[in-house]
Assembly symmetry: C2
Homo-oligomer: 804 residues x 2
Amino acid sequence: MLANHLQNGSETSGLLWSRIPNAEDPGGEFDPVGLSKKSDGTNGVESLDYEVIENYAYREEQAQRGRLFVIYQVAVKWFFALLIGVGTGLAAVFINISVENFAGWKFELTFKIIQHSYFAGFILYVLFNLVLVFSSVYIVTQFAPAAAGSGIPEIKGYLNGVEIHGILFFRTLIGKIFGSIGSVGGGLALGKEGPLVHTGACIASLLGQGGSKKYHLNSRWLQVFKSDRDQRDLVTCGCAAGVAAAFRAPVGGVLFALEEVTSWWRSQLMWRVFFTSAIVAVVVRTAMGWCRSGKCGHFGSGGFIIWDISDGQEDYSFQELLPMAVIGVIGGLLGALFNQLTLYVTYWRQNYLHKRGNRVKIIEACIISVLTSIISFGLPLLRRCSPCPEADPTAGIECPRPPGMYGNYVKFYCRNDREYNDLATIFFNTQDDAIRNLFSAKTVHEFSAPSLLSFLVMFYTLAVVTYGTAVPAGQFVPGIMIGSTYGRLVGMFVVKFYHKPNIEEGTYALLGAASFLGGSMRMTVSLCVIMVEITNNLKLLPLIMLVLLISKAVGDAFNEGIYEEQARLRGIPLLESRPKYRMRKMTAREACGNQKVVSLPRIVKVSDLVSILHSNKHNGFPVIDHARNGETLVIGLALRSHLLVLLQTKEDFQHSPLPCDTQSGTGIIRHHFTEFVKPASSRGLSIEDIHLNSDDLEMYIDLAPILNPSPYVVPEDMSLTKVYNLFRQLGLRHIFVVPRASRVIGLITRKDLLIEEEDNEDSDTVELQSTSVRGQRRDKTTIGNSEIEDPFLDHSSRQNSYRS
Amino acid sequence: MLANHLQNGSETSGLLWSRIPNAEDPGGEFDPVGLSKKSDGTNGVESLDYEVIENYAYREEQAQRGRLFVIYQVAVKWFFALLIGVGTGLAAVFINISVENFAGWKFELTFKIIQHSYFAGFILYVLFNLVLVFSSVYIVTQFAPAAAGSGIPEIKGYLNGVEIHGILFFRTLIGKIFGSIGSVGGGLALGKEGPLVHTGACIASLLGQGGSKKYHLNSRWLQVFKSDRDQRDLVTCGCAAGVAAAFRAPVGGVLFALEEVTSWWRSQLMWRVFFTSAIVAVVVRTAMGWCRSGKCGHFGSGGFIIWDISDGQEDYSFQELLPMAVIGVIGGLLGALFNQLTLYVTYWRQNYLHKRGNRVKIIEACIISVLTSIISFGLPLLRRCSPCPEADPTAGIECPRPPGMYGNYVKFYCRNDREYNDLATIFFNTQDDAIRNLFSAKTVHEFSAPSLLSFLVMFYTLAVVTYGTAVPAGQFVPGIMIGSTYGRLVGMFVVKFYHKPNIEEGTYALLGAASFLGGSMRMTVSLCVIMVEITNNLKLLPLIMLVLLISKAVGDAFNEGIYEEQARLRGIPLLESRPKYRMRKMTAREACGNQKVVSLPRIVKVSDLVSILHSNKHNGFPVIDHARNGETLVIGLALRSHLLVLLQTKEDFQHSPLPCDTQSGTGIIRHHFTEFVKPASSRGLSIEDIHLNSDDLEMYIDLAPILNPSPYVVPEDMSLTKVYNLFRQLGLRHIFVVPRASRVIGLITRKDLLIEEEDNEDSDTVELQSTSVRGQRRDKTTIGNSEIEDPFLDHSSRQNSYRS
């Protein structure tokens, strides 16, 4: 029945978010298993309870707790920030060790075998990759469908206020971790950094709700994180932790969370996010120190993602700014092209290929794996080896590199001992090592232009094709690969024509990497800091800034950033930070369109409520009451989810159509506040789930206790730009559009908000003495100021006189 | 008369900001010259026009311009960002070169003379310092009183929405630059970094209004930056540029602007601030490259503030975390104590000492200068010299340092050639060099504990006493001095007891510096990034984070950050990011108190308007009109400043009490939009300035064209916490408190705000065709949706029927 309502489609007004283009599409990356159970057509995209729950039940909870509880709450928040840091750090270490070991075994074995037969080595290489990729795609398709892709667009959506079903599940976390190991270890043209952000977010969210549904902690702990805002804050911490762990860039992580993922930000949160990032840095460092002794197999030598170029170029001249600007332009163009191509490919996949089920996805990933293996093994074979350069003992770089070691000058299919294959050095290698080689200083003329060009074309194509397969996939490392390749190409040109001794090709490779990421992701400050942190060279900061500025500006001329594009394609309706130009000329009323507002009375008959909830899919309902003089008054907002809880528990049903506070002396709230909170990983109640008998339907409910008594309102002819800013900056989910006011009771200005905190002891005792918020609130009201027209107050007194 | 009204004090409701404790005090740091002219008792603190001007005049301007103008506007904004970067960078270079040269001459001469006579050297040293400090305090007191202090609290206030008269004047800029040179060159215990932030802000503000009042650029340029928001954005850029220039820390600059100074932040702005910082980095680098050839005198060897410790400690063990935590705790305690002591000293100065006029201020600064000179010269004399350590050729540090050079191991009052004076190494030196020596690696046991302790006590005392004198003064460098001293002390302890080979005392000095700044300024991410950027060592990042976390937490247990404390003392009412706990239980109506709202009718008689403006000091007035059915309707907000412009120009006066749009066919707006904008450096109009004859007083004004037709409204019983968030996050200045609505016209949800941009060409032509906003707006209204109750529409039709 719900599905029928949705199919009508026209009745979705007031619903927080109902359907957007492509959202009805049951295919796409979100289709399988976990999601295909749902048949309501919303494709798993639903809205969050974005507003802090603020009804009386919540307020009573708050008041009963007092200040000590607040301190306890803060302590727990910090403890959770610590746990998130530790968890994400350990996950990152686990992924890195696994990937490095798989890749290490693979290359060790292959290099051993190709001493005897290149063909046998090739077969082994292909099979090894295939098995890893197959394991990854199998886990993802069969077990954790939401783990596919990078996850950053989804997390962005979540923090913007849209929940995509399944992204924060426990099995998504597992799928992400093991899927990453398979896909990255299997040598596909993708990275493990985006998935780590998602991993961090999952860990944070699961911690916040006390483990998966199956492993609840005790309820005392849970109470602390029952509001959606707390949950979102934790996920923000998790994102920052993910970046911090992925790149060992703690400051970059904080900035990434700030710039890229969160929609609104409080400075209190920054501090906590910062702490989490610092913890991650300590955990990762400790683990690496432990591994240095050789206990982690191949990990010790390969190590984490840092590409240290602190011994690189020290200085730059003004002449070099021109080729650097060229790199910026190339980055903007190639980045924008990348976004556009992946958009087409993903669209095609979503609408044609992936509709055919999981088997097609698995076959697709395996084909791409084989293709990648063939190209990365075969292309270097076609390339003739170059003789090693004159040995420079100060540089400490051996040519060819000793077998079984990581480094430059890979000997592959060469006849002489003192030769190396430049294409194999970047292609037949893990991506981390390839980037290290491309960034390396003191290796002028290591690579030839044809090798770099052919690698650029092939890898770019592979990256585009690989993007969107059903495996966890990040875009950072492929982006750095692509960028550093053309960067190094430009660097070779500069070295050749500028005749300066201190120019390093590796510096240009770094700038190229920054430019491509800037052109594709359109991040600014955070990307800049991440690049500096991963290369451990602060001196290049102004150059990275320059290149990023250019590449972002060029890219913005063509399309949006890759995360925004992908989010739109996946049907995640992000509210951008800047209102649309069109909104300047629209009013709030026009934005509502010709929707019909469905209001509820304060005391509603159960049967009426059920039929209203059945008849539409609105998520919020204005509640209207009558004031003493007979006029109507809007007394608040009732959320569908809360109404459903009332209907399900039946505890608040009453026989008389009178307000509850006049009849029962036992207190107003029969519900515990936590009952109203939907855990992040469940789907929540639906009206279909509720079964009422005919007696129940004849009862009444007083909605006053569950109302949000003062939702934000805007006058009907307010400019939509202003409404947009209000909505987004305060992270709202509902705004009431109301008629212009007839009078102004007061003006609030800066002066009125400069209230000094009253003495701590006083407020503490007040809180502890009072047991009911309502009572307390009334006290305050009368003390503070005369004649406040509290509709509830009016109502109850009216009802009292009514009875007497 | 105005002053009388203020003295009554009770009539200040509705006034944006009127008086706060200490604000009536005509003394304090703001007293002299420029400010003492004003006698209205507000001590120069006034509110900004925080809201974007949004009346019809503005809208018409906007509409006439179209999209091409928007592009032009954006281009100009970026060009200004470039100019701010260049200007601030050059100012920083100028200040640094001057300071280094003055200090260089001073020490060179003194060292020459003390070869013969220590007494003569001492006299020269004292006199040199005295002359520099006198020049600084003379400039500040006689010419630019607002240039005293660091300026950061004032800039914070400005960006929070409170304007302090004079802080962005041209002469403040001049006073700041030359005053800094004198006070820092004169060896006082203060820094040039805070003033550089102020300098950057001044440059930005002056550029934004096209130079000082005397040097206007053409009006075409000016139009672009007429809104207060643009002006604030420029000042934000200027702040970031100041930090970037002061510390050569571009990312730190962006984060400082983000975390510390701005109250609200848009991600679009981040990008522009980032650009400005990058420009500063390039300018400073270029200048330093130019100076390297020796063209800048003593500057070449001393250089900018960077204390490179990239060759310092590489690694740290878990055992070291304990002494590091101890450093954090000490930093928190000493920082909080510093804030408290400076608060007392400033309070005393403001209320007793500085009330006595400029001569007292000059004498005070001179006494402190002589005192500082005596201590920094005399204390090392009492200290016995130590023998030089065994020469370590790899470290490249000479002992004693060659005369005329900068470095460790200063020979001062020593008998033997191979001896140095450890106290003179830090005390009898520029602060930059002292810090470099304290941070230096490979100099274990250079300093003795008694020397460091006595230096710590003396310098701490000097810093407290110096803070608040009438010279430009930053707290960064003194803070780093203090912190690195006790940090090095702890480091000595660690070296002694831990028996580890790779521990460097310099690392602990750095951590100490971070901890003291954290304990005093309570910044987090930005401070961390600045510390990393100035030491050029990313490896210590997690440790700096840890220390900052601890010191900030410890400090927060005692008092607020130094900028907040000082802002409060100076009467700058900052709205903090977190609403007060008390507000949870207050409603919007209670916040208004028992203020009387003064409303205006739409058509107001000039004499009435004048008497209303005379009778109170409100800055905003609700405008009430009558709808068709006779009910009153709030149609908008009129700002006092706009009303004053109307009264002054008299162009809008009309004889009939009918709306203007019904009588004149020529168009509604007679004013150019720019007339309504008050330049940042002027005091604006006052009702006293306006002289009207009796004929004028009998005329009428239609306020509709100058209204802000839809100010934000809140229902009267909304929780004050919500109101606070609305006010602060949107940067408002007025909120109307209105009665609860009687009905809900519509609900705006996420879905309603997901509007796709219409085709560019279409909107362009629409804009170019329409010449009047009013007409256009009405078109839109009727197209969009039926029956919008536009009060103006009603009114004019009513008036039309009235006439016919």
